[in-house]
């Protein structure tokens, strides 16, 4: 069965349960279950490979011991027994997990496990249905199989993508094509710290990790890479999904992904130690923060629009020479008032070298808002901004579930990146022009074909030829019809 069909059937099972309300809870339920399964699988593997590893999991609560009905056969708990086990033992034990006598990687994993279960919740009220879900997960998600293992990252991403069409949870997912393109262009190098201050389900982080993994040549280097991918997510559910996502990509202890709000800490409290080499992020747009958050920012940048606050924060978080790619809505580009001041600062402190304008529907069906990827480097002021208007693939009028944006679409931009010239899709604007225009960065493509009227004289010649051709073709059709129909019988 295909993966999305599995997810759908799991959701159908949960729909029957009285305890689970709505997609958010269904995803929350699925979230901790998949996390626990993967965590247990990984634990078993660590124990096998590392003699010093002391699993923090109590023996009788391991996934295999209660969930795997293939192994347990008729002894697999179900109904009230299963519910009692999960609600009465699993959750209480893991929430209060003792970590004192652990050390090293086991300690960190224990802490992670504990924090995840402190936030998670078992919504399901029927043990029988819970058993059905557990079996489905066992059937289709086998992290132990080595051949499926390396593709598991992609599979998990598929799950996350399905969330996008499952309602509001889509706000935490950035399409893979966009994250991949942003990371490829920012091009993190070994030894550089990569940070996503609003990491959602970890799309940018896993892309950055895969990007750096290719460069690592020794296990030590790879270890360092794992420690240089940093993320923060405010909400519990995406944080859980992100942690799992990092795990399936091979980061055993994703302790670098924190469950926190980056905006809560006042801007002035961020010091040199907090600065990073690379920021890649898709901050929440139009999100409202709790009262008082904006007071952590200097008064000229105080706004309720989270996308703008994050833009200010990113400028602060970058080291001198640090690079960033950030997804922002059109509103930030043309907005006035505080937005103008933020953009003024951006152009003064950073070299905003490229803005890739994405078409509608990249984030559909979650939102149809138009977005842009801004690329900038801190330290030198902007002299000119290159724009690239990303077109739909030939024949497409929008993106949707069956025809999402594909990474190959960005090949043109990648080729253009190092050899920039004005094309039908690319144009550049000097910083003076932008300043005189009130720092409005929402600049129309002057090279778009509909804005260019060709020379009428040349067109006239083409048109006259086309008239003759159409005339001839029409006559040819008429003559054939006449020949066929008038066989002398009429």
């Amino acid at each position: 069965m295909s993966l999305s069909a599995t997810i759908k059937s799991i959701q159908d099972i949960m729909r029957k349960d009285v305890g689970v309300d709505g997609d958010a809870q269904r995803i929350g339920q699925l979230g901790w279950m998949v996390f626990y399964k993967i965590f247990s699988d990984q634990d078993a593997e660590l124990e096998l490979n590392d003699d010093n590893y002391n699993s923090p999991l109590p023996l009788d609560l391991r996934w295999d011991e209660w969930a795997d009905s293939k192994k347990l056969g008729k002894n697999a708990p179900t109904g009230e027994d299963l519910l009692q086990l999960v609600d009465g033992q699993l959750f209480p034990t893991l929430k209060e997990l003792a970590v004192d006598d652990l050390e090293g990687i086991a300690l960190e994993r224990a802490k992670l496990l504990r924090s995840v279960f402190q936030d998670a919740y078992n919504y399901m009220k029927s043990g029988t249905l819970l058993r059905q879900v557990v079996d489905k997960i066992n059937e289709s998600i086998d992290f132990n199989q080595s051949q499926t293992r390396h593709v598991f990252g992609d599979i998990y991403e598929q799950i996350l993508k399905n969330l996008q069409s499952a309602g509001n949870a889509g706000e935490f997912y950035t399409p893979r094509a966009v994250t991949q393109f942003a990371v490829d262009m920012v091009n993190p190098q070994l030894g550089e710290k990569v940070f996503d201050p609003a990491c959602g389900t970890g799309g940018f982080l896993t892309c950055a990790y895969e990007h750096l993994k290719k460069q690592a040549h020794s296990p030590e280097q790879l270890e360092r890479v794992k420690r240089s991918i940093l993320g923060v997510e405010k909400k519990q559910l995406p944080h859980l999904l992100c942690v799992t996502n990092m795990m399936v990509h091979g980061i055993e202890v994703p302790t670098t992904v924190l469950h926190d709000n980056t905006l809560r800490k006042p801007l002035r409290d961020y010091g040199l130690d907090d600065q990073v080499d690379i920021v890649v992020t898709n901050p929440p747009f139009g999100g409202m923060e709790e009262d008082g958050i904006e007071r952590g920012f200097p008064s000229e940048f105080q706004t309720r629009e989270t996308a703008d606050l994050f833009l200010v924060l990113v400028m602060e978080l970058l080291k001198d020479g640090g690079r960033a790619a950030i997804v922002l809505p059109d509103g930030t580009l043309f907005g006035e008032g505080i937005k103008t001041r933020i953009k003024q600062k951006l152009l003064r402190d950073c070299n905003l070298h490229t803005i890739v304008r994405l078409p509608n529907g990249v984030f559909s069906p979650y939102t149809s808002i138009r977005t842009n990827v801004l690329f900038f480097t801190k330290g030198t002021p902007t002299t000119e901004v290159w724009y690239y208007e990303h077109p739909y693939p030939p024949g497409a009028k929008s993106y949707n579930k069956t025809k999402p944006m594909r990474i190959e679409e960005f090949d043109v931009e990648k080729a253009w990146w190092e050899n920039r010239e004005e094309t039908q899709y690319a144009w550049k604007v000097s910083v003076e022009t932008i300043a005189s225009n009130g720092y409005n960065l929402d600049i129309k493509n002057p090279n778009a074909p509909e804005n260019i009227h060709e020379d009428p004289i040349a067109l006239l010649k083409q048109y006259q030829e086309a008239v003759i051709k159409a005339e001839n073709d029409r006559q040819a059709l008429k003559n054939s019809l006449v020949a066929a129909l008038e066989r002398g019988e009429i």
């Binding site: 929402d442 051709k469 073709d473 019809l481 066929a484 066989r487 009429i490």
Partner: protein, 545 residues
């Protein structure tokens, strides 16, 4: 209509909107009536072929290789039309069988999957499709085999049928059909009007039009001798290919014409100097025929008129007129060139650039910008939303506000004939003349413009503000995505090219006259297009050959 009239009007029919699909349909209809290819006296009659098919089916039934078929009802007295001597009428089930074959998609995940939306309407063409796996199919589907026709039984009006040369699964809303006829002949028969009319007339479901197995089995089929079926298909292919070629050529031509029109009008609108304007006009004049063929072209012509009007080209300057600057002097108006916009183009000598505020009162009718509360039986509060397509005020749906608001408004402005409003938020521009009786108030989303009639003719200012110069100013000021706005300050500083008062009157009269001609032209073009369309539509149903 007889064949001769058809041929005489062939060009009009082919050029009409939707004309080519009509011709295609006509070709199919002629094909299944035996009008396209001559019959061959050497060939045996169709009934022998039909007997062969019946016998083969019986054998297969006996062997248990196919399910027992529905019984064909006897032919009715009334048959759709007269067929050639060697042809025969039969029921669908006599020559074809519906091979339902539902399977679970899980076992066929890498097979192609075809649903009604993968088939083009009316043409029998297969569009892009995917595998069962990619389409995430879960419910049972019919399995089909090479050489079968797949017919969509839902919404038979869409005429979706295709001949496949591969194996795969199709939607349960479709029938895989095997036939003993030349399969492509059955395909084109199923695309013809004769077939469609039978399918849809037997259908009396309302919510979801559908044809069921019983109905389909009894549809009447005109069967030519087997060899003739092949010749018919070849002929249809040949004619359809010609249609394709003509359609493509027509498309190219029409696209180019549209571009030509766009570019000709644009160069007229963008001309800054007099020379550029003269050149652009000469081009429009010399290609008048190409620029005035479709009803949509009238818009470009109207723009041309307005553009020429405010550039001083429509009526000649008269040396006896009091020049604009003399008039301003006499009235003590100082034409300060304080305008923030740069002057847009060169003017005739007797004309003068002026800011709007010097020749009209520009009033914000509701400065508080807080929409007043709605009351019963109040005074209409007119905004751009209450303006209909004919640029008239529609009082019916307008918000009604209290007498106090009305009173407060009357203290700020008194409306008079010649005043007009101008959209400043949301709908920009689109000036609308105000009409009596003036028992209404104006919304905050408009600017009220009251021209000083001693300097400017109201209608002249109005036509300037409807014209392409204004369009250009507005489109450069409104942004792609923001809530469009054209503030009152910019309105006051808007530069206006002011001709002598006497000339303004002549311009207004001339524009009126030309606009009427444009309207007439548009109406007559529209009518001739509609005529051609209905002519094309009647061709198939009434062509008697």
């Amino acid at each position: 209509m007889d064949f001769k009239t058809f041929l005489e009007n062939f060009d009009a029919i082919a050029e009409a909107p939707g004309g080519i699909p009509k011709l295609r349909s006509l070709i199919l209809e002629m094909a299944v009536r035996g009008k396209l290819v001559p019959s061959n006296p050497e060939e045996r009659e169709a009934k022998f072929d039909i007997d062969d098919i019946r016998n083969r089916v019986k054998e297969l039934e006996k062997e248990g290789r196919i399910r027992k078929q529905q019984k064909a009802l006897p032919l009715s007295e009334e048959l759709p039309y007269r067929i050639p001597i060697k042809w025969n009428w039969v029921r669908f089930v006599d020559v074809a069988s519906i091979e339902s074959n539902l399977v679970k998609p899980d076992d066929f995940s890498h097979y192609p999957h075809i649903a009604p939306n993968h088939i083009e309407k009316d043409t029998g063409k297969l569009l892009q499709y995917q595998t069962v796996f990619a389409d995430e199919v879960t419910s049972p589907k019919h399995r089909f085999f090479p050489g079968q026709l797949i017919y969509s039984k839902i919404r038979p009006n869409l005429n979706k049928v295709v001949l496949v040369d591969f194996e795969g699964l199709c939607s349960a809303d479709m029938y895989p059909i095997s036939t003993g006829l030349y399969p492509r002949y059955l395909l084109l028969y199923m695309l013809s009007q004769t077939f469609l009319i039978q399918v849809t007339s037997s259908d009396n479901r309302l919510a979801m039009p559908k044809v069921n197995q019983d109905q389909l089995s009894q549809i009447l089929i005109a069967v030519p001798p087997l060899a003739e079926q092949k010749r018919i298909v070849e002929k249809v292919d040949e004619l359809m290919a010609l249609c394709d070629r003509y359609e493509a050529a027509k498309q190219t031509r029409d696209n180019l014409r549209q571009k030509l029109r766009g570019s000709a009008i644009a160069s007229l609108m963008n001309a800054e100097t007099d020379e550029e304007l003269d050149d652009a006009w000469a081009f429009v004049r010399d290609n008048w025929h190409n620029l005035s063929q479709q009803p949509e072209d009238a818009d470009g012509l109207r723009k041309t008129v307005l553009q020429l009007a405010v550039r001083g080209k429509l009526v000649s300057q008269c040396s006896e007129d009091e020049s604009a600057s003399e008039l301003l002097n006499r009235l003590g108006i100082k034409p300060l060139n304080s305008s923030s916009e740069k002057l847009l183009f060169a003017l005739p000598k007797t004309w003068q650039w002026l800011d709007t505020e010097l020749i009209a009162d520009v009033i914000d009718p509701h400065p508080s910008h807080r929409t007043p509360p709605e009351v019963r039986d109040g005074v209409p509060y007119i905004g751009m939303g209450d303006i209909n397509k004919q640029l008239e005020i529609n009082f019916n749906d307008a918000r009604k506000v209290s007498k106090e608001v009305f009173k407060e408004h009357t203290e700020r402005y008194a409306l008079k004939l010649g005043d007009f409003i101008f959209g400043k938020i949301g709908t920009l521009g689109q000036p609308v003349k105000l009409t009596e009786p003036f028992n209404y108030t104006l919304s905050a989303n408009v600017v009220l413009i009251q021209p000083h009639t001693k300097v400017v003719h109201s209608d002249y200012l109005y036509l300037y503000m409807t014209g392409p110069v204004m369009d250009k100013i507005l489109s450069s000021s409104s942004r792609v995505t923001t809530h469009a706005a054209f503030g009152i300050k910019r309105m006051r500083k808007l530069p206006v090219p002011l001709p002598p008062l006497a000339e303004q009157k002549r311009i207004v009269a001339k524009v009126d006259e030309l606009m009427k001609l444009c309207d007439q032209l548009e109406a007559s073009l529209r009518e001739s297009q509609q005529r051609a369309e209905s002519l094309a539509a009647s061709v198939i149903s009434h062509l008697t050959i």
